[in-house]
Amino acid sequence: MEQASVFMTHEIGLHARPSVKLTKLAKTFTAQIELAIAGAEGPWIDAKSIVKVMAAKAPKDTTLFFRAEGADAAAALAALTALVERDFDEGKADAANA
């Protein structure tokens, strides 16, 4: 089991477009990947499910915890934390309109 955490500063939080990007990226890995926003003790949700990720309603300035199990678990965590660190590749125009 691999674990990682990353601080999310996106203007709105884990909103529609970032959630789409996060789950789409998660689905490119075969590992089972889970996400928690309350802390490293969970509750854990499926990071490949947009319905569950959105339902977590993570506001901005939340630390996102990831854990993954499977052959490509380490690569998955690296890619997901990088996406959050890049602010989901969203420019400020997106934040202003979202």
Partner: protein, 494 residues
Amino acid sequence: MRGAITAATQDLAGLMDQLDEETAGIIEFQIAMLEDDALVEPALFSIREGIAAEAAWQAALDAQVADYEAAEDEYFQARASDLKDLRDRVLRNLRGASCVQALPDGAVLAGHEITPSRFLETDWSRGGGLALRQGSPSSHVAMLARARGVPMVVGLGDADLPETGEVLLDGDDGILIVDPDDQERNAFTRRQQAASSNRQLEESYRGKPAVTGDGTAIAVMINVADPDELDDLDPADCDGIGLVRSEFLFHGPGGLPDEEQQYLAYSRILRWAGDKPVVIRTLDAGGDKPIAGLTADNESNPFLGLRGLRLSLARLEVFRVQLRALARSAPEGNLKIMLPMVTRPEELTKAKRLYEEALVALRAEGVACGEAPLGMMVEVPAAAIAPELFAEAAFFSIGSNDLTQYVTAAGRDIAAVADLNDSAHPAMLKLIRSLIEGAAAIERDVSLCGDAGGEPSEIPGLLRCGLRSLSVAPLALGRAKAAIAETDLANAHA
């Protein structure tokens, strides 16, 4: 059930092809939700239990909608309408109904709420509008309506809305007139024509120098948050850059920007502007602009906390890098450095000393660098009330957004008090007038770089306070210059 969901997904995918990137993002989100088994599973479970597909889907999605409506955050609340949209789209497919919406010329749709995909399926080209009992200005639909220029009013509540009849809808002022009389109708038509010719007129001002009706020249500069914005802009349209928000550099990947990154970014902006002034504001983090690893966590009131220059002076290792990068970029153009949130003159003295130290160090290293005037933002009331204390500043620029919220004690991000956050409050104008007089006494220029400067309704009042320089969003250039041209400073009542 699966068939109806697939059909709904295909409908949405079909819509996506015709849309701009922004709107497509909303639909992409809806498709991703539909494709997620977690959304469908509860309905399928009910169907296996013997519940009819329509009822099963309705109940499953109603639960999701209720969950979003209960959210604390306004953004997540607004997502409830996306879920309703998905619910209704699949229901229509389950019932085999067509979902094409044809509106008669100039029809105003009235109702509780409208879903984003219903909005997109509607042909608004013949001048339709929207009147909603619920809705929110931050919903996806409101965003789409703004982008497409569809007039819309929200939050009508229990107001009496007829099913048929004549209404006049003014999206600019958020007014709906039901069953208008001749006088109202004529006034509305005049307003409508005026608004349309006004928009054309405003754009015609974009490339011209800004001059008031009585011939007073006003400097109109632009606010820039990201150097990429400059690619589509012509430096000839503005009198310089009145505000560069250097925060843009601090949100990139890889943490805080190093000296070289900052130097390159500042130089690029300075070269774009040629010999026109470029006012670069040092990092204004904190308040509503947190930066991971830099701003303080868990402040009980971040707007009154360690933000702007206060933070820079507390984190010298970060501030020194920025000052070195600024000093190195100075030879590339007409640089002015602006310090945010200055509250006491001592802060200015400290910043000035740090800048001089950076220059000395760079010269000792043999690195090319240059001096630039150091000015300050005026957004803290203490500075606005007593500008004479800050003679060490080379210039002043009013940050009207923050100054307004500190003067009115009302945050504009708090919907319940947003109407109190009024940058045209007589107290604000009185304060700005007195600031300009105080600055003139010590021979300092005053500009304004908040949102008020780009608001046509506020520009005449600001100019009458003695303001002769504004910095506005690039999009507001034409509109601001047009409002300036309409202002006659020789006639106090014009």
